[in-house]
Symmetry: C2
Subunit: 243 residues, 2 copies
Amino acid sequence: MTVPSLYDRPDFFAAYSRLPRSLHGLDAAPEWPVLRGMLPDLRGRRIVDLGCGFGWFCRWAAAQGAARVLGLDVSERMLARAAADAADPAVEYRQCDLEALVLPEGAFDLAYSSLALHYIVDLDRLAGVIHRALAPNGRLVFSIEHPIHTAPIRPGWIEGEDGRRVWPLNSYSVEGRRVTDWLAADVAKYHRTLGTILTLLLRTGFHVSQVVEFCPTEAQIAARPEMEEERDKPTFLLVGASR
Amino acid sequence: MTVPSLYDRPDFFAAYSRLPRSLHGLDAAPEWPVLRGMLPDLRGRRIVDLGCGFGWFCRWAAAQGAARVLGLDVSERMLARAAADAADPAVEYRQCDLEALVLPEGAFDLAYSSLALHYIVDLDRLAGVIHRALAPNGRLVFSIEHPIHTAPIRPGWIEGEDGRRVWPLNSYSVEGRRVTDWLAADVAKYHRTLGTILTLLLRTGFHVSQVVEFCPTEAQIAARPEMEEERDKPTFLLVGASR
């Protein structure tokens, strides 16, 4: 690729590296306990992690007894840091552009992806690749930025007519590229409606079995009061499906 | 019941009776072509319509060759008008509160509901009743007000910081009763997230196969320019599922 990936841009990488989930791993991600609960037993399973970043999930999955974990990411910087962490022989990292991903057929029991699929232009193609790469009854579990979060032309809380905080939703059904300033300037994501995301999976042949719009628990809000915003507008969509 | 149903309140009934879909039937409902496309072939099928209102769908289904159509509604006024229309021997109307619905097991091939389920307090119970009332491979097809539409504490378009129209979304994950002024004062609906609606179906045993967030076509917007709002914020959620 001639254009460096978003996560290889020095400004973005520096800001992303300072996020709690980058510094402290899975337990610093508020949606992780819910996503973890959507996973099958990992012992002896073959797993592919699409957009593995610093490899936190890959190492955790190996520690749960996974037979093999293949971590894929487009970012050379992230993979370099992932590889520099304590190595587990069950984990392998590979640099690859998910837009052009090729995987062997029926080779995995679980495809996992955390907050990567909203960067994908051709999600139809990728869903087909994942479906074919799964063994019968294989699972796909992923998180993605919620369409309500990605939709607005001008995202960011504003004050409603009664003085309450409101999320300025518009353009929900206008799908496609959204360029925003998130951690750095000019970050491009792809907005799709919830209906489109689920329909795309169903059309590919997946059975959709879990659809969760993440909302923090009372305990999480007590510990981090700013998370109360999530009650007004979900940021993360979590989906579980089977081949 | 001691409290008359919403649709039996004179103010609401009068306003509802003047809506295009009340006056002109299915073809005046913009979402109908999509909902119709989600239905199985109706010839010879046994159908129950939950919240049948004036009976437009029941009569249409009978005209498609349905073997039997049972139209259920809590509103005596609506059923009186439905019954006054040209009778088809395949159609039967029955007054009943969907909250306390009892249906025979395995007796229907299709359960249909148009814009009624957002009035239901105990949707878990009703989903179970519908599931048991369907024959194996029976279908459930329904429309419901979209959670994005029902969520806000203060629904109604406002102007965003860039002057564009925005829908003031908040309280999305705070489920429960919402009282608004729609056609009349103090209309109570029950807000549930999209995740909750789908999870409730999956937990009941349904296979979810269609999830559509209705957006009008270019032709519909050309004919009725005010419908362009639907691109910014979906009003109708359409779901298809199988037993």
